[in-house]
């Protein structure tokens, strides 16, 4: 499985195929959210700048925005989340992925945290 990289907003990204990347939220993030009951996915073809709002995840209590870790265009979304949003809780870095994005500037990936740095970041958040 390809290496995960993380944003400070708790999204993860990993290479799926060439310059196409898969995006989701971290195990820490799903734990903070609690039971996910609804996911609003972007439209395929949508162009998003790095840090732009890309999706919405709703737990029983609240809605949270998911941001694009890199700039690009959405090439696929995980339709399984529509019927089974709880996959975000049970398998956040696997079957709980949100969308795939074709990156326009792959160098942006290098600015993100690797797993060790992200773990340290989460710990520093208390």
């Amino acid at each position: 499985m390809a290496e995960l990289r993380f944003t400070k907003d708790h999204e993860w990204i990993r290479v799926a195929d060439g310059d196409t990347y898969e995006v989701g939220i971290s195990d820490y993030a799903q734990g903070q959210l609690g039971d996910v009951v609804f996911v609003e996915l972007p439209e395929v073809g949508k162009t998003i700048a790095k840090g732009g709002q890309a999706a919405v995840v709703e737990s029983v209590k609240a809605a949270s925005d998911i941001y694009a870790p890199v700039s690009g265009s959405v090439v696929a979304v995980n339709d399984a989340l529509t019927g089974e949003p709880g996959l975000v809780n049970t398998d956040p870095t696997g079957k709980g992925w949100f969308f795939r994005i074709k990156a326009t500037n792959a160098a942006e990936i290098q600015e993100l945290m690797d797993e060790a740095a992200y773990d340290a970041f989460v710990k520093s958040q208390g």
């Binding site: 903070q32 609804f38 609003e40 995840v57 209590k61 609240a62 998911i66």
Partner: protein
């Protein structure tokens, strides 16, 4: 991932960083605080208290457990007050539209403190204990309520605030199974009645009532024995600790108002659909704050009404969501909304003009800029299962 814009101020389990600095300095703790932490609760501020929003089971699991078995809630943050003396009933009737004079000894009734404009200052439960009245008021309002009573009726009745008592709620279809072991006589008790007696050997008083739509009890216990009582209840396999998150989704599905959200000083009891709590005598005679407006709304109907709203899709519509009519014009606002685990879909309540309040009416909910179809429906969303004997 960052929290989406949300107007809810009190309880944000998803953004602990916003209140981390408050947790120790400014928030009060109930006597069960250490037990909540021991049970693994995630704590958040609510009504000025550091309260458990959920335990490791999670909001969804806790909600479903309460509907299927029995849930134990710490509601010690709520205010427990006794009004003493022979004039307590008549005095309290000058502040609430409820019929307290008609309340039998040992019975409990829901009412609200109103202001001169007919708005709601707080909602509360009132029990006739014979020689006194026992009140339970909301945490966030209790200091204002007590000051209000002392100022307005303090010369007629002694207002005693029970800071030395905790309050536990045991709710769900198996609450009676648990109570049968701990307080056998309570099983014959009917909905909205009050008893005194031992629960697990601890002297308590308890009403068969709650805030979930389920059968259950609210148990007032001396603060220094509250942990012992909570542990005795949790020793029963049916009972699990339940946090405020599930309390909110349970009460929303039950169609019950949350003060400060669904009702406040800007809403009247009639707009809120609470006119069932105002008897014929009190409607005719008035004599409570805001009676003129409330009587007018009872006679002519209110301009707007609190209604249940069922979104047709899966997206929850939260508090603050605009409600629009068929032309897209804003007609109201969602006052409580979210995911209803028992309904297995989104549910909300809010205020709409009386002309749109009929069940079956189509409305739109504007969620993140998109108008989603929804229908006005009767409440509750999940049927009440009270024990009426």
């Amino acid at each position: 991932m960052r929290p989406a814009v949300d107007r809810r101020a009190d309880m944000r389990p998803d953004r602990p960083w916003e209140y981390a600095h408050l947790a120790d300095a400014d928030l009060k703790k109930t006597v069960l605080h250490a037990l909540h932490v021991e049970l693994g609760a995630k704590m958040v501020p609510f009504g000025g208290y550091d309260m458990p929003v959920q335990y490791p089971m999670g909001i969804l699991g806790e909600h479903n457990h309460t509907r299927a078995a029995a849930g134990l809630f710490d509601v010690s943050h709520m205010g427990q007050v006794t009004l003493h003396g022979p004039d307590a009933v008549a005095a309290l009737e000058t502040l609430v539209p409820g019929d307290i004079a008609a309340l039998d000894v040992g019975s409990t009734r829901y009412s609200m403190f109103t202001n001169e404009a007919g708005g709601i200052l707080d909602d509360l439960m009132i029990t006739n204990r014979g020689d006194r009245l026992f009140l339970v008021v909301n945490a966030g309002c209790k200091e204002a309520d007590i000051a209000h009573m002392r100022a307005k009726i303090g010369s007629r009745t002694k207002v005693e605030y029970h800071e030395d008592r905790a309050l536990l709620a045991l709710q769900g279809p198996q609450a009676a199974t648990v109570m049968a072991r701990l307080a056998p006589a309570s099983v014959a008790q009917k909905f909205m009645t009050f008893r005194t007696g031992d629960v697990a050997g601890i002297p308590c008083f308890f009403t068969r009532s709650g805030y979930t739509g389920e059968d259950g009890w609210e148990i007032s216990v001396p603060a220094d024995r509250a942990v012992e009582l909570a542990r005795a209840i949790l020793a029963n396999p049916e009972a699990k600790p339940i946090g405020l998150g599930a309390r909110d989704s349970l009460r929303l599905e039950a169609g019950l108002c949350l003060y400060g959200h669904d009702i406040d000083t800007g809403t009247t009891p009639v707009e809120a659909g609470l006119q069932w709590s105002i008897s014929k005598r009190r409607r005719a005679a008035g004599g409570f704050p805001g009676a003129a407006r409330i009587q007018k709304e009872l006679a002519e109907g209110p301009a707007r009404k609190r209604v249940g709203i069922l979104p047709e899709g899966r997206a929850p519509a939260r508090e603050g969501t605009d409600i629009v009519d068929a032309s897209g014009a804003k007609v109201g606002t969602v006052t409580s909304g979210g995911f209803g685990p028992t309904v297995n879909g989104p549910v909300c309540m809010g205020y709409v003009p009386a002309a749109l309040a009929q069940p079956g009416t189509s409305v739109g909910l504007v969620v993140r800029g998109k108008t989603l179809p929804a229908k006005i429906v009767g409440m509750p969303f999940a049927p009440h299962r009270y024990f009426r004997g």
